[in-house]
Chain length 341, copies 2
């Protein structure tokens, strides 16, 4: 047993180390407050490709290249790549992996994919089943708009509760041991559906799942929120974040250190992104570009990171279905043993 399971939460005896991280982004991301956090930024969101779908694959490719460069690894040293995205049949990831001769596990967790992947990568590393695992996720505004809403050329009006799909990819390298940051614990999500049917209000649809995962984690761990430098959600945006705090308060948990990657990645006042960023690339970019570097430097010592996903499709939306949400949580610390914190 390389871990101890309390309730739903896996606590690793020897916490896996996140040996490297890389984030690449597009134009709007380069104009936002995190411009200095990305390893690469593209002025032209097409990345020179003829379709937005291929552009997203290119984003992933550049991201994994940056990761290999920064960690001085080569792809043949990687045991597994776990990756996912929002495209139908996850083709951004599949077509990226076509060019990399490595074992591939495709994940689908909508915008929760980054922490789903980091969680499974940690399981593989902690279980002694891999020496090096890459977890990666991406999204692309133009590919997502066309697929889930309307083509860009249509010029559809955005609602006030809408969020802006982030054009970014994030990739992490996970190893069984090392210099950290360290994955201390993982709580995988359960699907929650509070009957939200408005596909332009994803934050509201995902908030109940995020609340449920946080409550389970604190119940399982016995910790309290003040013991963390920050509790980060993936892409609830402004509306979803407010709802999250309300639901938690109704359940007796008061969060004063909650941050949402969707409101960190853009300047909400000036970038016309309505309620904030969304997409797998949102939490992937913020985690790989900002939070992990800060953990590495010791500027952050201990955080909870929870990517949040809305598990609907355009078909289910057109069929009038409500939107189920899910949220996978990972506890990450700057030092290997929690007692040292």
């Amino acid at each position: 047993m390389d871990c101890c399971k309390k309730g739903d939460t896996l606590f690793f005896k020897q916490p896996p180390s996140i040996a490297g991280f890389a984030a690449v982004g597009g134009k709007k991301e380069g104009e936002g407050p995190l411009r200095e956090c990305f390893d690469l930024l593209f002025e032209d969101n097409s990345l020179g490709e003829p379709t937005w779908e291929k552009s997203e694959s290119s984003l992933q490719r550049y991201c994994i290249e940056q990761l290999m460069k920064k960690t001085q690894c080569t792809m043949n040293q990687i045991d597994y790549v776990l990756a996912g995205d929002l495209q139908n049949q996850c083709t951004a990831s599949a077509y990226t992996l076509r060019g990399l001769d490595v074992q591939f596990l495709g994940l689908y967790g909508a915008c929760s994919t980054m922490t789903e992947g980091l969680g499974v990568a940690s399981v593989l590393a902690a279980g002694g089943m891999a020496k090096r695992v890459v977890a990666m996720a991406s999204s692309h505004f133009c590919a997502a708009e066309r697929q889930f809403r309307t083509p860009l050329e249509y010029g559809g009006k955005r609602t006030p509760t809408a969020q802006w799909t982030v054009t970014a990819a994030g990739a992490l390298l996970v190893e069984p041991e090392g210099a950290g940051p360290f994955v201390q614990a993982v709580t995988f999500g359960r699907v929650r559906d509070f009957q939200v049917t408005d596909a332009t209000n994803m934050g509201a649809a995902m908030a109940p799942a995020a609340a449920e995962t946080i409550l389970r984690y604190f119940q399982d761990s016995g910790y309290n929120p003040e013991q963390f430098d920050g509790i980060y959600t993936g892409d609830l945006g402004e509306v979803g974040s407010k709802l999250l705090l309300e639901i938690l308060e109704q359940n007796g948990l008061c969060l004063k250190n909650h941050f949402d990657c969707g409101t960190i990645i853009y300047d909400l006042e000036n970038q016309e992104v309505q309620c904030g960023g969304s997409g797998c690339g949102c939490s992937a970019g913020v985690l790989a570009g900002k939070l992990l570097p800060e953990l590495k430097k010791g500027k952050l010592r201990r955080i909870l990171m929870m990517s949040t996903g809305a598990l609907m499709s355009q078909t289910t939306a057109l069929q009038g279905e409500s939107i189920p949400g899910i949220a996978h949580l990972v506890e990450i610390s700057s030092v290997p043993k929690e007692e040292q914190l």
Copy 2:
């Protein structure tokens, strides 16, 4: 270390046990040679639902209910459900899991999802991170036809190389130890693309990936094909199966005991399914409905099971992209120790 990794293949020291299995199918599956193998068969493929997408979710729901009944488990005893399907954004699985209060890891491996899920479930069980994991996959002919090709009402003519998407779901319960059958080893797939662009010839697109995984497994294990009662692929169909054997022969491996679930599940002479069955439900149904029961009875003693997936989407097909394939392999035996075989 609960496993030994040779090359790409994980060999489990304490092989996880497949404690239960259930398969449910539709009308055509009930008219085929495996009619006695399914736990439930539906005459009406709508299962009483207003959309094909919901019908597929119902298939999954019935399947997991059968699994719980047969194993005398309840959902609150299950640590994780790993599930996937072919619908855009994997909504068949997400909407099924909405009704089950359990931790959910969404997978996307196209038709390779059954063994991807069984592989990850085995990793969780062997790593001491779960007591009970369910791996599940499904497909539905009508949902897949509309999404990937044309709506049924269109009456599109099928090509001779086409395959028939199986309407079925299969679910397995994996535990760290037990009475078997036992998962001895897992080799996860690498993406292979031999530039097939014909979306009505998926078997040809997937055969190179299947060949590559088999070759890696035999290289890693040192075994030879004669040591197995059968080497099963997911849904290569007649064309893909021939190509697989050709590619393997070119690489010095002669398979005399290869079977493809796509040609087992239907009567190819009389059921008008062209080259055979396909879809996640094809290998899931055959594994859960036929192969695992035969392993349990000792009628089969040792097999390789390898679901095969074509990682394209309708969008990539319309954009003229070729079709990448992947194949995940699982070695399953009737007794816990390979030496006893």
